[in-house]
């Protein structure tokens, strides 16, 4: 009777269940768990926020700072944030034992100082982002600390100086 063969199969297989958490769970090297944002590398640019499908990453101004918050409760562990981060500040860990009795444990934040325009004072972007851009591209530091509007004005004025228009020269 072929149905008795199940006993033979069971005997050969042994036990496949594990005494978790006493034994280690089985996780492959490719497994995607929660992410970690390195505050020293993060620019505060918001690329990760834009790409995050469930809105687990948010970038909100808070007083004088810009706060990047990661809420594990919404995370779908897709790892897109790590892929798009220009600063390579996000690592995808293998952590999945994330349950907690305290909702606060599920939120982590990176707080950025916001750079304000040296002329008009409007907030431009996170300091770290500006710093990284200046390092990576030939932008003069003097322009980097201006907001787009003041930058345009100054640029127009300096052109004006060059061609001799009235009111030209650095402001």
């Amino acid at each position: 009777m072929s149905l008795v063969k199940i006993l033979e199969i069971a005997l050969k297989t042994g036990r496949v269940t594990r005494r978790y958490p006493a034994e280690e769970p089985l996780v492959t090297p490719e497994f995607r768990g929660s992410i970690e944002v390195d505050p020293s590398k993060c620019w505060g640019c918001g690329a990760c926020v834009k790409v995050c499908p469930p809105n687990a990453l948010t970038l909100t101004p808070s007083g004088k700072s810009l706060v990047l918050e990661y809420f594990v409760g919404r995370c779908i562990f897709c790892g897109m944030c790590a892929e798009v981060c220009p600063a390579k500040a996000i690592t995808v860990t293998k952590k999945f034992e994330l349950a907690s009795a305290n909702l606060r444990d599920l939120r982590s934040r990176v707080v950025h100082e916001v750079l304000r325009c040296s002329v008009c004072g409007t907030p431009i972007a996170a300091e770290a982002e500006v710093r990284a851009v200046v390092k990576a591209s030939p932008v003069s530091e003097e322009y980097a600390v201006l907001c787009p509007r003041c930058r345009k004005e100054r640029f127009a004025k300096s052109i004006g100086l060059r061609v001799g228009a009235p009111g030209g020269g650095p402001s």
Partner: protein
């Protein structure tokens, strides 16, 4: 006096050991499923947990609760009597103990059905009807074969034939797959047991365990008697064999699937009826 004491000890052993045998069954099932399974005392832990909860009387009200408790009582008494029988009975006669045993068993089945039908829950009612159909197609044969074995005299072939009928019909008594259609979880979401919780569920669970114990011990005892043992030896051997038979029953339930409400009883009748007829013929032939 000694008989009664022995029977009492046997009875207590039975009632305490039934959940442990169930634990063994669960371990065996887990092994066949390649799982680790619960610890062997788990069924005791489950019973303790159930009895420690608040008493909840389902909508069927007191009738349901009363039936459940009476059913358990009847079963407990059956176990007691079963252990007493080999000590009290002399070959060839049908004593009061035997009759009482049969009566109690039937009462227990009837009470299951009353409990199920008394409830306001349609799943339970359907389960009750299924239980009724199943009982009709197996219990008469159980009674017949039991009486045959007790009172049948020295006819070896007749005894073997009756043993076969007893083995099959007592398996059906144990509400195991393929014949657990009254409590089919995927079909009736616990059927007859659906409205039970807490201590009442504990009572119903204990009833099931005792049924299984009875089924196992009955078969073990029958086997022992057929082989020729009597009195104390029969009782002790039967008790020792009970876990073996229990495990055999468990194995059958692990290897098969659940039958259908029409197929099951039909298959039983088609097997047991001819067998019974043959058995009677064998008796007539003096074998």
């Amino acid at each position: 006096m000694l008989h009664s004491l022995l029977a009492l000890v046997a009875f207590l052993a039975g009632v305490t050991l039934a959940p442990v045998y169930d634990g063994l069954e669960r371990k065996l099932r887990a092994a066949v499923h390649t799982r680790i399974g619960p610890p062997i005392l788990q069924t005791w832990y489950d019973l303790v947990k159930l009895f420690s909860k608040e008493l909840v009387i389902p909508e069927g009200g007191s009738w349901c609760a009363l039936s459940a408790v009476l059913e358990l009582t009847a079963l407990i008494a059956s176990v007691a009597l079963l252990n007493y029988v080999p000590l009290a009975v002399t070959s060839g006669t049908v004593g009061a103990e035997v009759v009482a045993f049969i009566a109690l068993l039937s009462v227990a089945t009837a009470l299951t059905i009353v409990r199920a039908v008394a409830q306001n829950n349609v799943y339970s009612v359907v389960g009750g009807f299924r239980e009724f159909t199943l009982a009709l197609s197996s219990e008469p044969f159980l009674v017949f074969s039991y009486l045959a074995l007790v009172a049948g005299g020295e006819r070896p072939v007749f005894k073997l034939s009756s043993l076969l009928i007893l083995a099959i019909s007592s398996y059906v008594l144990s509400s195991r797959i393929p014949y657990d259609i009254a409590e089919a979880e995927p079909e009736l979401s616990a059927g007859v047991n659906i409205e039970l919780a807490g201590p009442l569920l504990g009572v119903a669970t204990m009833s099931t365990l005792l049924r299984r114990f009875l089924a196992a011990e009955l078969t073990a005892l029958a086997l022992v008697l057929v082989v020729g043992f009597e009195s104390y030896q029969a009782l002790v051997l039967a008790l020792a064999l009970t876990p073996v038979v229990w495990v055999a029953h468990a194995l059958v339930s692990i290897l098969l699937g659940r039958t259908r409400v029409d197929m099951g009883p039909k298959a039983l009748l088609l097997t047991l009826l001819p067998l019974s007829v043959v058995t009677v013929v064998i008796y007539g032939l003096g074998l």
